[in-house]
């Protein structure tokens, strides 16, 4: 049983002639500790796939299983609970709460889940230290650099010890150095800390950090590649595959 299993997933917007198929019978399986990147041209359905995988949106057909639990048919509250406990999110624009410090931001999924503030903050401190922000826990987002803010977002995604981390263009708002650092961090999340990571990106260099890359076009998986190493050569290879699309 994979951590994330997506079967025949489709998403259609609108009706009749104006209907747009964003995702067309996509099936994906991600194992524990696997780092998967999704690439493809704009409008190919990358983000839709991620949103459906995270239970942020409902599919038109098909199903999403997280650690064997089928999200379809679950109430809104139960899906929210799965998001809190089993899924971590990293967004392009960080989406940190500006009035909270880094530690409070990182602790948020636990606090929302009813964990005592002290225990939640303890856990947040642990993960902030692991992402290299041990001494920035008291800083608010506007006192941190973009790269640091995204690290706080990664700590927030991991604080509830989820099985799956979903990252939507996590480097889209970072400079190249911070982007590389973040990609390395996500690789660490999968390889060392045993979380499954599904990342949407348009950057071939960043995608090259993944174990496997899915190529999407017009809502379908059109290609797939496994990478055994993660250097510049692999980056070039991914770029070439992308150009072929």
């Amino acid at each position: 049983m994979g951590i994330l299993q997506i079967d025949e997933l489709s998403k259609r917007y609108g009706e009749g002639e104006t209907a747009v198929v964003a995702l067309d019978r996509v099936s994906v399986k991600i194992e524990r500790g696997e780092f998967v990147a999704v690439m493809g041209p704009s409008g190919c359905g990358k983000s839709t796939l991620l949103h459906l995988a995270g239970g942020l949106d409902r599919p038109t057909s098909g199903r999403v299983l997280i650690e064997g639990t089928d999200l379809s048919g679950l109430s809104d509250g139960k899906v929210a609970a799965i998001r809190r406990r089993k899924i971590g999110f990293v967004f392009q624009f960080f989406n940190l709460i500006p009035i909270l410090g880094a530690e409070e931001n990182a602790a948020l999924p636990l606090t929302l889940d009813g964990v005592s503030p002290a225990a939640a903050r303890e856990k947040a401190r642990h993960w902030l230290a692991k992402v290299g922000l041990a001494n920035r826990g008291g800083n608010r987002p506007d006192q941190l650099s973009g790269g640091q803010q995204q690290r706080v977002a990664v700590a927030r995604a991991l604080v509830a010890e989820p099985a799956l981390v979903l990252a939507d263009e996590p480097t889209g708002n970072l400079d190249s150095r911070a982007s590389e650092e973040l990609a390395a961090l996500l690789r660490q999340v999968a390889a060392e800390w045993g979380r499954s990571v599904l990342m949407v990106t348009h950057d071939a260099r960043i995608a090259a950090y993944a174990d496997r890359i899915l190529f999407l076009k017009d809502g379908r998986v059109v290609d797939e590649t496994r990478l055994s190493a993660h250097g510049n050569d692999e980056g070039r290879l991914v770029r070439e595959r992308m150009e072929k699309l």
Binding site: H51, R84, L112
Partner: protein, 861 residues
């Protein structure tokens, strides 16, 4: 300019929801100010009527020099006078009740005559309050119907629906009783009220009246003088114009009401301004990124300022027009609602909304001007930021916590207020009260953090667990100025509620306390006129003796009366500025305190009553003390029928019945010796524990057959009647002040709605990382509760201080009040704040909870 206009129009059309919410804020502001001020003239007129009729007061009575009836058309002429609020004519004539028609009956005292009074029902009800115990009041359409008093009904053995006969010049008239008023307690004949037209027919004087009663629309002394003069000039020598003595407490009440209502208008204006300002600050802050982008594209500051000002102007104009219409509708609906209440309980119809060109002008200036100002000030600040900085995808900066100029101005005002509110000068202490209110408004942004931390902690432990309370608290602390401005509408509304509550509670407690102390006996024997003792025919001590002898009665105490004056002659006592007429009341120092305790301003019961029994000592009431400037220990010379008598003042104390009259209390022994008076004018008695009240009442009624001038009543009933009069005078005000709280609700709803809109992506993120819909709804609710708690806390503080200042200055309006803490009003204010917080959060909370997460995450803000 063309570009600016184009951009402004596209912005307005392109962001419909935002445009609607912002325009709605202008509508609220204008509606609050315009609606309230359009209501005020009618409420003022109703309030004036209310108070005047409760006191049975008219501004002028017109009679013919000959004393005969005169054409009713004179009334129409008077109605046309500017400044005349209402004119009502009546035709009155005494009618003998022949013993053949009404033979003497046991247990009843048949009057020898009654006054048959023809009135115009509608106009008469605008002059006086006609309360009814049973049935209904007259209408113009009535024929053969009458309204009588309970005492006449009792005397003639009549009930609602029964008919009776009266001899008239047109022959015997049969009248059916359609309404029964409370028993008559003033001197003169019992009155039988019938419609004016029917009275004219019965008396053979159609279209004629015996007198016209007139009420003015102003309390201003100079204006009233000129109205009297105008009436005199208009009517000529043929008519007499009587202007009855005006009780100072009546005018004090009217003035107090007028101040309160004017204050109401001002607060409405301030609240309107706050609502508009607050909304625009939010909207301009949201546009930061767009402004940066436009500047990056080459737009200059002036163009962008013009864009915002054009938008502000258009929204101000639209909001003002809609606000005027909604305000008028609100005023009309409110007055229609009030009119129903007034008509049912007070037989008076309130007028429609009064809209003057001045009011429309001020409203337009407020609506458009305030919107331009509200758009311009933050826009200028936003344009100072560099384009690059504005373009950064910052989620929202937290405002600096360092106190600014406003804070220090607030501190200075607070220091001034703390010294000024205790100042004996009314002007200084009132300024102190206003300064305190202003200081809190200025300090509010700095107080946001500590106060929300206090309440946020409380919320986090109760309803807003799981970090939601902390998020809400942080959200408010993030923009303390905006939070403070929003809370300020609640602050103002509740400050006014609590201040009014302080005054109302103090007045009520003061009179109620005095009333209860004065009427502490089980029963009262009331003469025709209470307080105006000189016109009462009393009873010899035998009546009291006979009541005392009843087996059920434990104690009887009486009041005796003599007129005198406190002399200005210096030979024996303190020199006064002139002779002061004084009511001298003789009490029995032993029994009086058991049925009617005085409330002492100076001195005490333990020493004062025994002092009365031991020599020529007297107690002055507050009116006497303030008129004569005499104090305990001073010597006072009374000019009595038997010459000058020197008394020593031993205390200052008040009872309810004589509070308004210059009164001195002496022992009945001294009254007999110095004035030769032994007549009891007012009697009070208590029953023995467990005594049969019905038997006692029957026994006393039998005794009263020889003393028909007295009416037996239970003290509780008399107390209730007095309170009803009191409350009827103030009733409409209570309602108005509660309505004032409504705009603060509207402000909260709007601010929260904009807040939710602005933080769409943030709320979407919360949902994405696992917050449930319930938690998001709770977050909005917690924010609303924190905002209203902030407003409530500051409002209670401001209201408490302003109320204290108003009460301590009431003496300048003719009252001397002790401050009573308005617990009920405070609790009511807290309840209103909590309820409004919850209500305000409902729709924005629902919107936030129902957001589609993916769309929310894509929102650009």
């Amino acid at each position: 300019m063309k570009t600016a206009m184009h951009l402004a129009l596209r912005y307005l059309a392109g962001r419909k929801l935002r445009t609607a919410l912002t325009t709605l804020a202008v509508v609220f502001g204008v509606f609050v100010f315009f609606g309230m001020n359009a209501v005020l003239p009618s409420v003022m007129a109703t309030f004036q009527h209310n108070v005047q009729s409760a006191w049975g007061q008219v501004d002028a009575t017109i009679t013919h020099q000959s004393g005969e009836a005169f054409p009713a058309s004179v009334g129409a002429k008077l109605s046309a006078f500017p400044g005349v609020r209402v004119v009502s004519g009546f035709l009155s004539r005494p009618v003998n009740l022949p013993p053949s028609l009404y033979p003497a009956a046991k247990g009843r005292r048949i009057p020898s005559a009654v006054s048959l009074v023809g009135i115009a029902p509608k106009e008469a009800a605008q002059i006086r309050t006609y309360t009814l115990e049973e049935g209904r009041f007259l209408t113009d359409a009535d024929a053969g119907h009458a309204v009588i008093t309970a005492s006449l009904a009792h005397a003639l053995g009549l009930a609602l629906g029964s008919s009776f006969a009266l001899p008239t010049p047109s022959g015997m008239a049969r009248l059916a009783v359609v309404g029964i008023r409370p028993a008559r307690s003033s001197p003169g004949n019992e009155e039988v009220l019938i419609p004016l037209r029917e009275a004219g027919r019965l008396f053979g004087s159609p279209d004629r009246v015996s007198a016209l009663e007139v009420n003015f629309d102003t309390f201003d002394a100079t204006r009233r003088e000129s109205l009297h003069a105008g009436l005199r000039a208009g009517l000529g020598d043929e008519y007499k114009i009587g202007s009855p003595a005006t009780g100072t407490e009546l005018f004090a009440t009217l003035k107090l009401g007028m101040y309160a209502i004017n204050l109401f208008g001002l607060v409405a204006m301030a609240m309107g301004a706050f609502i508009i300002l607050n909304t625009y600050r939010t909207v301009v802050a949201e546009r930061r990124r767009d402004l940066g982008m436009l500047r990056a594209l080459g737009a200059d500051g002036r163009t962008l300022l013009a864009v915002l000002l054009i938008e502000g102007f258009l929204q101000g104009l639209a909001g003002t027009l809609v606000g005027l219409a909604v305000g008028w509708g609100f005023a009309a609906a409110l007055l229609a609602g009030l009119s129903g209440i007034m008509e049912s309980f007070m037989h008076v119809r309130t007028g429609g909304p009064v809209v003057s060109p001045l009011l429309v002008g001020i409203t337009a200036v407020l609506g458009i001007g305030m919107t331009l100002l509200a758009a311009g000030i933050p826009a200028r600040q936003a344009l100072r930021i560099s384009p690059l900085e504005a373009l950064r995808p910052v989620e929202g900066k937290t405002a600096a916590s360092r106190p600014g100029k406003g804070f220090w101005a607030g501190v200075l005002l607070l220091l001034f207020a703390s010294a000024a509110v205790w100042n004996p000068s009314a002007a200084v202490s009132l300024c102190g009260g206003a300064a305190f209110l202003l200081a809190l408004l200025l300090l509010a942004p700095t107080l946001v953090r500590p106060i929300t931390a206090l309440f946020g902690g409380l919320l986090s432990r109760t309803i807003a667990r799981d970090g939601v309370g902390r998020l809400a608290q942080g959200q408010l602390a993030r923009q303390p100025s905006r939070s403070a401005v929003t809370a300020s509408t609640t602050l103002l509304a509740l400050a006014l509620l609590v201040a009014t509550g302080s005054v109302m509670t103090s007045i009520t407690e003061h009179f109620l306390g005095m009333l209860k102390a004065t009427l502490a006996s089980d029963y009262l024997l009331i003469p025709p006129t209470v307080s105006v003792w000189a016109s009462d025919v009393g009873a010899k001590p035998e009546l009291a003796e006979k009541i005392r002898a009843l087996p059920e009665v434990s104690l009887v105490s009486t009041l005796r009366f003599a007129s005198a004056s406190l002399s200005s002659r210096p030979s024996m006592g303190k020199e006064l500025s002139g002779d002061t007429p004084v009511s001298v009341l003789g009490i029995d120092p032993a029994s009086f305190p058991k049925v009617s305790a005085l409330r002492f301003e100076s001195g005490n019961a333990r020493l004062a009553y025994p002092a009365l029994a031991s020599g020529r000592n007297l107690i002055l009431n507050g009116s006497a003390a303030s008129t004569t400037k005499l104090h305990p220990g001073d010597r006072a010379v009374l000019v009595t029928a038997r010459g000058l008598r020197e008394y020593r003042v031993v205390a200052i104390g008040n009872d309810y019945l004589n509070a308004k009259l210059v009164t001195a209390y002496v022992s009945q022994e001294n009254l007999r010796e110095d004035f030769g008076k032994i007549e009891d004018v007012f009697l009070q008695f208590n029953l023995k524990p467990g005594a049969d009240a019905a038997r006692a009442e029957m026994g006393v009624r039998t005794l009263l057959e020889d003393y028909p001038q007295f009416r037996l009543t239970r003290s509780q009933k008399y107390l209730a009647d007095n309170l009803a009069t009191f409350y009827s005078a103030f009733g409409a005000l209570y309602l108005l002040f509660i309505i004032l709280a409504v705009p603060s609700l509207l402000a909260l709803v709007n601010t929260l709605a904009i807040g939710v809109f602005e933080r769409t992506r943030e709320l979407g993120m919360l949902r994405a990382i696992g917050a449930t819909r319930g938690q998001v709804r709770l977050l909005v609710l917690a924010e609303a509760m924190l905002l209203s708690s902030l407003g409530a806390l500051l409002g209670l503080a401001a209201g408490g201080v302003v109320g204290r200042v108003l009460v301590s200055n009431a003496e300048h309006l003719g009252f001397t009040l002790e401050y009573s803490f308005p617990y009920v009003w405070m609790l009511a204010s807290i309840a209103i704040a909590v309820a409004f917080g919850a209500l305000a959060a409902y729709f924005p909370g629902r919107r936030a909870a129902r957001m589609q997460i993916v769309e929310a995450l894509r929102h650009e803000g």
